[in-house]
């Protein structure tokens, strides 16, 4: 889908404004507060990405995936203490190693498992979406 020429122009305009704000932030005493500049820069840099996202044919898949990601992050944040409390502590193995996690009882694989759930869930999500799509196609046929 080709964008409206006006949108393409507005993207160029956004980049130009961002360039000036960036120069102002780095080289000159800021005309506006630094926080405002940073927020403005973030919005201006995100603008082409938003346009890209809206233009995608399968943006629904990404939308579902992003929702799921936020859902997982929210779950982990809310239930973090309960998950942490119920997770077994690090064991002192046969080598008798006492490091930070063994001393403080921090669960050894806690971080690794949570990270890989968050990092790898897109693969499972997209596989499920593809399987559902294929079943729908078969059903229609």
């Amino acid at each position: 889908m080709k964008m409206n020429k006006a949108i393409a122009k507005s993207l160029s305009f956004a980049v130009l404004i961002a360039s000036f704000l960036l120069l102002d932030y780095i080289f000159f005493p800021p005309l506006l507060s630094q926080k405002i500049i940073l927020i403005a820069l973030f919005l201006l840099y995100s603008y082409p990405l938003i346009i890209l996202f809206i233009s995608l044919k399968k943006n629904l898949y990404f939308f579902i995936e992003i929702l799921l990601l936020f859902f997982l992050l929210t779950i982990f944040t809310i239930f973090f203490q309960q998950i942490y409390a119920n997770w077994p502590p690090a064991v002192i193995n046969n080598s008798g190693i006492v490091g930070s996690v063994q001393y403080y009882g921090y669960p050894f694989y806690f971080d690794t498992i949570i990270f890989f759930i968050i990092a790898l869930h897109p693969i499972i999500t997209f596989i499920l979406i593809k399987l559902i799509e294929q079943k729908r196609k078969k059903f229609r046929l």
Binding site: K2, M3, K5, I7, A8, L11, S12, V15, L16, A18, S19, L22, Y25, I26, L38, L41, Y45, P48, L49, L52, S55, K58, Y61, F62, E65, I66, L69, P88, P89, A90, V91, I92, N93, N94, S95, G96, I97, V98, G99, S100, V101, Q102, Y103, Y104, G105, Y106, F108, F110, D111, T112, F115, I118, A119, L120, P122, I123, T125, F126, I127, K130
Partner: protein, 651 residues
């Protein structure tokens, strides 16, 4: 000159030359002045000293970074090759960018941005180590892309040989490189998979993997011959086992550092890359471009290095990987925006904006080098390092003036003393690395074989890293020192211990009363979560054992103690507690000879006891008779004593 400009490799020469200019000081300046009072820098200085006195890595010390890094300060060829590494890496990145992006300007912009980032943020030392993996991944992904399904067996063999050779130069990166290759082989076999030829495809993939492993074995042969010549093959196998134990001792909570700009940057860009590349593999595998192959290979590199960062944060060292992912993702965005007829200059301005913002605005941590490169005559270099360390901390010289002869051992760390005393350092330079039992035994053997006369004991900095008391990390070693050496005097933060052949009782030594902080440290012990962890995992070891003493009431238990003359040898104390809100508990243990120790520990759950091995407590380094145990929090429901063997699995 015109011919030079028209040469198709001209841009590679320029890149190589420019990077040589930037890093030239590392070749011209032959002396590294290590930062004083920095744990890592002093370790590097000690390893450089070890190389100079002819010690061999793996056999004589546990230097984990490979032979190239070890010998670069003592061997001119290693130094020259180490210097060439950086320009070769950048030239390699330019080469792969040009192939993958199919657009010279984008490749030049990316290489320039990468150079800027490495200069200001990552540093060349770190890039020389971690930069190899993404470049290797990029080359492999391009080979898979350009071969379009079929790679000859010779290529698998060659790649295997390359990785095998890399093992002795840079060990950890070689292991990661082989993992990356296997992951990419499986992924791209899936991408090219045709459903009706599944069995054939699996057979081909397995055969290809076999050739790869044969190549690794062939490539490893020179190193194997080197190890056999030095009689260090067994030590190499032990070293590999130690590397896996290093994971357990180095692990620190990742959640605590997750909100740093470095980790946030890596997490955000990593997750975006994973989402996009998953989408591509699952829905668009027929439209895989060279850049998409590259992105997938970078995602694997990211997962491997991020997994290492989760063990112990190396986020400031691998943020450049986030930048490489950004290049790849931006290229996809660029292609889309070009189709929308967006002006190319604006696109490159957008790219430059984002690179500058990533490098200078978002707050990434610059990771400086471990040393400053400077010029001096070779003999002066070490002297300059010694003078710099002493200038920063004059206590080193004061200790040297107090111990004029004899051999020394430094506890828990301060390996600088071995340089000062011109003495061969031990295998492990600090208690942090020497937590495994076999490592502590190794240090005890060092003390015995070297006939150490003096122990230099830092009694002020009692927690080297992560807030873990050093005598808890290395109780066996600490026990040996306390039982065999006596306090002579204090010099600044160090106590000088002398070898005590009569094995005087450390806690009865009047000298200890002059150092109340040390006495307090050793008799007021915080075991944190160790007793509850021991109870959780090892209570099953007690199921078939009968306690030598057990009671539900502390009062009755103490009466039994008095009448039974219970000795502390090979004894574990098991405590069950009632439900309580208290997070930390305290007990006191009194001995018949008038000593008392307080033990603090994290509360354990009702269904599992807390288990304390008495011989891990400093006052029980020597055998003593137990007199009384006090329950300071009034929560104990049952207390028992068990006898265990010397080689028991209890801590």
């Amino acid at each position: 000159m015109k011919i030079l400009f028209q040469n198709k490799y001209f841009d590679y020469f320029i890149t190589f030359f420019v990077v040589c200019q930037i890093t030239g000081d590392r070749l011209i300046n032959n002396c590294r002045l290590f930062w004083p009072n920095n744990f890592d820098s002093i370790n590097f200085l000690t390893w450089e000293y070890s190389a100079k006195i002819g010690l061999i890595p793996i056999k004589d010390n546990n230097f984990p970074y490979g032979l190239l890094s070890y010998f670069k300060d003592v061997n001119i060829f290693a130094a020259f090759f180490d210097f060439l590494f950086t320009p070769l890496l950048f030239t390699g990145y330019l080469f792969i960018f040009k192939k993958i992006y199919n657009n010279s300007y984008y490749a030049y912009f990316s290489t320039g941005a990468l150079l800027l980032f490495i200069v200001y943020i990552t540093g060349f030392d770190v890039f020389n180590r971690y930069g190899i993996l993404p470049l290797f991944a990029g080359i492999i992904s391009y080979i898979f892309y350009s071969s379009n399904k079929i790679l000859s067996k010779r290529i698998y063999l060659s790649i295997g040989i390359g990785i095998g050779l890399l093992i002795f130069l840079i060990i950890d990166q070689a292991i990661y490189a082989s993992l990356i290759f296997i992951l990419l082989l499986i992924t791209f076999s899936y991408v090219h998979l045709q459903h009706k030829k599944l069995k054939e495809s699996l057979k081909t993939t397995s055969a290809n993997l076999s050739f790869f492993f044969i190549g690794c074995t062939i490539g490893f042969l020179p190193f194997l011959i080197y190890l056999l010549k030095l009689n260090a093959l067994i030590q190499f196998m032990q070293f590999f086992s130690y590397l896996s134990d290093l994971t357990f001792l180095a692990k620190a909570p990742f959640i605590n550092s997750i909100s740093t700009p470095d980790n946030l940057f890596l997490l955000v860009i990593g997750i975006v890359s994973i989402i996009y590349s998953s989408y591509i593999i699952i829905f668009k595998k027929d439209t895989l471009t060279a850049n998409r192959y590259f992105l997938i290979s970078l995602v694997y590199s990211y997962l491997l290095l991020q997994q290492k960062s989760i063990i112990r944060s190396i986020a400031p060292q691998i943020t450049f990987l986030g930048l490489l992912l950004f290049f790849s993702l931006f290229y996809e965005l660029k292609l889309f925006l070009e189709k929308q007829e967006m002006n190319r200059s604006i696109l490159y301005a957008y790219f430059v904006n984002l690179v500058v913002a990533i490098t200078f605005i978002i707050g990434l941590t610059p990771f400086g080098p471990a040393a400053l490169y400077t010029w001096t005559s070779d003999n002066d270099c070490f002297q300059k390092n010694i003078e710099q360390q002493i200038a920063q901390d004059p206590t080193y010289k004061e200790v040297k003036d107090n111990i004029s002869s004899g051999k020394i051992f430094s506890f828990p760390s301060s390996p600088f003393f071995y340089i000062l005393y011109n003495q061969k350092p031990p295998m492990y330079l600090s208690t942090y690395e020497a937590s495994p039992k076999y490592a502590q035994q190794n240090l005890i053997q060092y003390i015995q074989k070297q006939k150490i006369d003096w122990v230099i004991y830092d009694y002020v900095n009692t927690e080297l890293l992560d807030g873990v008391p050093d005598y808890i990390r290395a109780t066996i070693l600490h026990q040996y020192i306390i039982n065999n050496f006596s306090i002579q005097k204090a010099v600044g933060r160090f106590l000088i211990f002398k070898y005590n052949s009569s094995k005087k009782d450390f806690f009865k030594d009047p000298m200890l009363n002059k150092f109340p902080t040390l006495r307090q440290e050793l008799t007021d012990v915080n075991l944190a979560a160790i007793p509850s962890s021991e109870g959780y995992y090892k209570v099953t070891l007690l199921k078939n054992k009968k306690p030598v003493m057990s009671n539900f009431l502390i009062k009755n238990f103490n009466s039994n103690l008095a009448s039974n003359k219970m000795l502390s040898t090979n004894t574990i104390l098991t405590i069950w507690i009632k439900k309580t809100n208290k997070k930390q508990l305290t007990i006191s243990i009194n001995t018949e000879d008038g000593l008392e120790t307080k033990v603090h520990f994290a509360s354990c759950k009702e269904k599992n006891p807390c288990i304390i091995n008495l011989s891990r407590l400093p006052i029980f380094y020597q055998v003593r008779q137990l007199k009384e145990i006090s329950d300071e929090n009034n929560v104990i429901t049952k207390v028992s004593l068990y006898k265990i063997t010397e080689d028991s699995r209890f801590w």
